[in-house]
Amino acid sequence: MLSTGSNLPDSVSDKLPPKPEIGLPLWLLAELTYRCPLQCPYCSNPLDFAEQGKELTTEQWIKVFREAREMGAAQLGFSGGEPLVRQDLAELIAEARKLGFYTNLITSGIGLTEQKISDFKKAGLDHIQISFQASDEQVNNLLAGSKKAFAQKLEMARAVKAHGYPMVLNFVTHRHNIDKIDQIIELCIALEADFVELATCQFYGWAQLNRVGLLPTKEQLVSAERITNEYRAKLEAEGHPCKLIFVTPDYYEERPKACMNGWGSIFLTVTPDGTALPCHGARQMPVQFPNVRDHSMQHIWYDSFGFNRFRGYDWMPEPCRSCDEKEKDFGGCRCQAFMLTGDASNADPVCSKSEHHGVILKAREEAEHATQTIEQLAFRNERNSRLIAKS
């Protein structure tokens, strides 16, 4: 509460901005499966993915797409896990494209073939994003937990362009690969990527578990951003269409990110078992989320408890409640607040106004002295997942 001496809590809530009108669910992320041939130790899937329920059927997914499209969803991402392990992927793409979605396949490239690239094109797929683990073969394969991953990715990236798709290359960067960001960018330009996402690890799921072994130092980050800006200037001077997108880890910020552009604002994720989430990290929260098997997308988006839980400003405690930046960042990320403070309503501890900001400062400090090697990270696989779910 404000330290004005007022005993009228209503006088505070009176000052809250009105609850904004609920926006359209413009972005639908379809996590088709948690199955994946890779074992990336920074995977954003839940730690207990191996214990999750049965995957939705083809028909159930198509119903989700149809209802979301009617509500205004325009972008559809096929993700996972590795979406390519779903045998009905071409059918799902075709249905989604017919409905008018812009269809994005977000893949590791493992399991992709020229035949599939061509089949998906015929089905109407608009874009393919391939994720890399590193710019050199050895580190990439070590991180992916596969000896053939790198060569396969290169071959598939070339095939994607040869078949006339726009291509996004995604590199998750962390302390073991971020110093090679110049090589990463050079590789992406050589592969004719239209967009390059240089996404510093965000600490959810497996990445949170491995945070000490992944978070780059401040110096590493500053250097990587400087190099990226040099390449940006060079590309722009050449009129080159390749766009570099640099995502900083919020651990080095003093104000939190406007996570998902606000809770239940434009993003809707459906997980393999049909649980609908306002963001793909929200599953771990102690909030009841609806399932597409039980409810319409209309109910899920507009009426469900889970999607309304953190809309507007009424739910905010201090310091967010009286903060004049709450309409800009919405108090940051609810998942991060929950993971790091135990209460999802708290200010994201990235914010220097948070009483828990010390955990972020401690993580930065640890990054200066961390010695963990890649081999020492906990790899995302079924065995580790079951062990974690049991413990």
Partner: protein, 91 residues
């Protein structure tokens, strides 16, 4: 530098112009992104078909809106911006 109106715009590979009922307007969709177009951009965008050159687009809109004197310049400006943003290619 004068604008060459004989060039023909095409949307860049992977960029799609379409009407969105829920937004009651036209958008440009691209990998993992979307731009909501204003009414005049939507009118111009609707005529980008890889066949019409810029002069033909101007002529077409001049017929629809004979009372807008600077229409040609507006369309040239749209083309410049769209090319700088790499939404279109002019060939």
């Amino acid at each position: 530098m004068s604008f060459d109106r004989s060039k023909t715009p095409t949307w860049r590979t992977g960029y799609r112009f379409q009407y969105e009922q829920a937004q009651k307007g036209h958008v440009l969709l691209y990998p993992e992104g979307m731009i909501k177009l204003n009414d005049s951009a939507a009118l111009i965008g609707g005529l980008i078909d890889g066949q019409r050159d810029v002069a033909a687009i101007i002529a077409e809109l001049n017929m629809q809106f004979p009372d807008v004197p600077e229409l040609g310049e507006d369309i040239e400006q749209f083309m410049e911006v769209a090319r700088a943003q790499h939404w279109i290619e002019l060939a």
